[in-house]
């Protein structure tokens, strides 16, 4: 709980850094066949590792889509070029460390481990600050407003039953047994706010 609070503070601190010291365009080059959308910050190898991690943090299973379908790794890649830019090196080093741990275990990168082995590696680093950061950002990328690139198809909001952003809510919609249909709209889908979007979803 305490660590989570510290993280949130740390994440918020970076927003100021990002705005006062805008980073140059991402220096990372995609070295493989281009993904469906070009990456903004991470290399393809880094992205593959990150995608494999978020797939275990919030897995796809009988309870529905997980962090992969929500695009949590895409959210993090984009945010590392903006609001979370101060964590760029933390991710570069942290993701490399995860592959070191994976290779020590089975001589393959993290993304190629079995799910059980991936869970074992993640459990071994649960108390590390980087793990807490990853988890916090994965939750943001799964349950945040889709404007920022995650929570695709409202996967996160549907998972927990959030009925969505509304500009007005009726008394009936606040009854204990109300069944309110989800809006499936971003805050910035509303005309009032669409003119004041935070830059580039960052």
């Amino acid at each position: 709980m305490k660590r989570r609070t510290l993280l949130r503070r740390a994440g918020a601190a970076s927003a100021f850094v990002a705005l006062s010291d805008v980073l140059p365009a991402a220096d990372a080059q995609t070295r493989r066949a281009p993904a469906r959308e070009p990456l903004e910050t991470l290399t393809q190898d880094e992205f593959d590792t990150l995608e494999a991690i978020v797939a275990r943090l919030i897995p796809t299973d009988a309870n529905g889509p997980g962090a992969v379908e929500a695009g949590a790794a895409r959210y993090i890649d984009r945010a590392l070029a903006g609001a979370l830019a101060s964590f760029r090196d933390t991710y570069r080093n942290g993701l490399a460390d995860m592959n070191v741990l994976a290779r020590a275990k089975k001589v393959v990168p993290f993304a190629q481990l079995s799910a059980a082995d991936q869970d074992a590696v993640l459990t071994s680093v649960e108390s590390a600050p980087f793990f807490a950061l990853l988890l916090a950002h994965t939750v943001q990328g799964t349950f945040g407003d889709p404007f920022y690139g995650g929570n695709r198809n409202f996967a996160g909001w549907d998972l927990i039953g959030y009925p969505g952003v509304r500009l007005a809510v009726t008394a009936e919609q606040q009854n204990l047994d109300a069944k309110t249909a989800p809006t499936h709209m971003s805050a910035y889908d509303y005309t009032l706010f669409s003119s004041r979007k935070p830059a580039h979803g960052h």
Binding site: A12, N63, F143, G161, P163, L192, R196
Partner: protein, 569 residues
């Protein structure tokens, strides 16, 4: 070299909760007022329902002056510093933090004004905690009642009265002091969850009631009624249902043509003449520096900045900081004992996805001195508050009550079932000032202009800790009566930077122990007034803003009525 501007009658440093209120009676009295605000105007379109931006990325503080001067904190003079928060608890804008505050708008209760004498009378002097510097206020509730009333009408407060001229109404707070009349609007509506909790409180023999809020419960003064959309908490209101001074008293004062609002004005000092009277203020706007001469200066920039600005404004007459020749600036500081709370898990969905922190039910049976403390090891009490408010990232970050790990398939199954089944109470408790809790200037940490930031040296004492435990147990009892299947008490925490910061320029008749007199003017500098909770000597068990605003109106009205005696021309 500062550019000297045209003289004005009154300059107000900060157009937030209190400066924004004080401007109105001054302008209406025909005085020329310059309001200096370091933030900008924000429009409804700026106040989007965006949890990531508002609640996780610290907007708008992350790009503001406030954030470059977050106070440092240490629990006591020999302890190491606490981790410094990245986000300042308050924001800069015309309207200040009233743009995104919870807007709970309480009056203090009669006991809060005379904690010292009432404790001695009822329990004996030894009942007062060791080391406390608490004094009775120089005024009582009856002195402040007319000003509470004026502010409630101007900003639009909704609520249910519990005591009108001594006539008790059990629909409201039966423990409140007498009011002259009802609230300007009925309370915000109840929800399925809040009604369920009210029923549980009644089953315990307690007296639940809807709390007062500076939020419109219907159309009021040209403003829309609340839309309950769920992003009120740090998000602001896109329909101006929240009674921020930015949409109430400030524009009304501007319409008199007597108030000039200067935005992005960063005040760096309050200046004095050869006689030690205030002559005006110096501020920076962009790269330029200005001197604004004024006959009276009102400082209204929040507790930490009020204290810091006085301490930074040194002169021959005031070598230890303005109005600090008695060494009282920064003393009698305390923050609200409100961190320790209770989380509860219910066996059903609560449907609290919508609403706002001010849409809730209070219980005051365990507040103030409303119960016998004879056998208890503390004085004071707490206001129990439950409300309807939830957003998706926060919901996913819920406590798992020891029933699931923090990630993976089991965690996912847990939050899928329980994201709408948890609730967290808001428990505000009496907090006292102590000899060794204080504010001063940090010896090493500076803002980008090179000025020291404010340093907090303070921690909760035994009275606060015992009281927190007692109030948490009452809250557990309430949740259990409503059917909660699990509860957990969170730690009391420490006194770091907060939105409820009191003292530092305390109000009192004795200049040896107080910075301002009973009207809010400095004992040492008669044409300097101080607005905000920094003048409050006790906290009560409820949000401070309405009391700070009522005091601000009273100070402003006193100034207008005694202009010739106070102003230095």
């Amino acid at each position: 070299m500062a550019t000297e501007l045209r003289r004005t009658d009154v300059v107000i440093v900060g157009l937030g909760a209190t400066g924004g209120v004080a401007a109105l009676p001054l302008a209406q009295a025909g005085l020329d007022v310059v309001g200096l605000e370091v933030g900008t105007w924000l429009a409804p379109a700026d106040l989007s329902p965006d949890e990531l931006r508002n609640n996780f990325r610290g907007w708008p503080q992350s790009v503001q002056k406030a954030n470059r001067e977050v106070p440092t904190h240490r629990p006591n003079a020999s302890a190491p510093y606490s981790a410094r928060p990245a986000i300042h608890p308050m924001m800069n804008a015309v309207g200040g933090t009233t743009l995104h505050y919870w807007a709970q708008s309480w009056r203090l209760n009669p006991w809060d004004f005379k904690v010292a004498s009432e404790t001695r009378r009822r329990y004996g002097a030894s009942k007062l905690p060791k080391g406390t510097t608490v004094e009775d206020w120089p005024i009582g509730l009856t002195d402040l009642e007319p000003y509470y009333d004026k502010v409630e009408v101007e900003i639009g407060v909704s609520g249910q009265a519990g005591n009108i001229n001594g006539r008790i109404d059990a629909r409201g707070n039966i423990f409140e002091g007498p009011r002259a009349r009802a609230y300007p609007m009925p309370p915000l509506r109840g929800t399925g969850f809040t009604e369920m909790m009210a029923g549980a409180a009644r089953s315990l023999g307690w007296h639940p009631f809807p709390g007062p809020a500076a939020i419109t419960s219907g159309r009021y003064d040209g403003r829309s009624g609340c839309v309950y959309h769920g992003y009120c908490n740090r998000g602001g209101c896109h329909v101006s249902a929240k009674g921020s001074t930015a949409v109430t008293t400030i524009p009304k004062a501007q319409r008199t043509k007597r108030l000039t609002v200067v935005t992005e004005a960063h005040v760096t000092s309050i200046d004095v003449d050869a006689q030690g009277r205030v002559s005006g203020v110096t501020y920076r706007k962009g790269t330029e520096e200005f001197f604004q001469p004024a006959s009276v200066v009102l400082v209204a920039s929040y507790t930490y900045e009020n204290v810091r600005l006085l301490l930074l404004s040194t002169s021959k007459a005031f070598p230890q900081g303005l109005s600090n020749n008695h060494g009282q600036v920064g003393r009698h500081y305390f923050s609200h004992n409100q961190i320790a709370t209770v989380n509860a898990l219910f066996p059903r969905n609560l449907n609290t996805w919508y609403g706002l922190p001010a849409q809730g039910i209070a219980v005051d049976d365990w507040a103030d001195d409303n119960f016998d403390h004879g056998a208890l090891g503390f004085i004071g009490g707490g206001n129990l508050w439950i409300y309807s408010d939830r957003r998706p990232i926060a919901a996913a970050n819920m406590s798992t009550f020891g029933r699931a790990p923090r990630w993976g398939a089991q965690w996912k199954a847990f939050i899928k079932e329980n994201a709408d089944r948890a609730n967290t109470a808001y428990l505000q408790r009496t907090t006292l000032p102590y000899e060794d809790n204080y504010l001063d200037l940090d010896p090493t940490v500076k803002d980008p202009l090179g000025f020291p930031v404010c340093r907090i040296t303070a921690d909760y004492k035994e009275n606060e800790r015992r009281l927190a435990d007692f109030i948490q147990d009452k809250m557990v009892q309430w949740y259990r009566a409503a059917g909660a299947i699990a509860t957990e008490k969170t730690p009391v925490g420490t006194m770091g930077p907060t939105t409820h910061a009191y003292g530092g320029t305390r109000m009192g008749d004795n200049p040896e122990t107080n910075v301002v007199d009973r009207w809010g003017f400095s004992h040492e500098v008669p044409n300097l007034g101080v607005l905000g909770a920094s003048v409050m000597g006790t906290s009560g068990a409820r949000n401070p803003t309405l009391t700070a605003q009522a005091l601000a109106w009273r100070t402003a009205e006193h100034l207008a009525m005694n202009w010739k005696a106070i102003a230095v021309r």
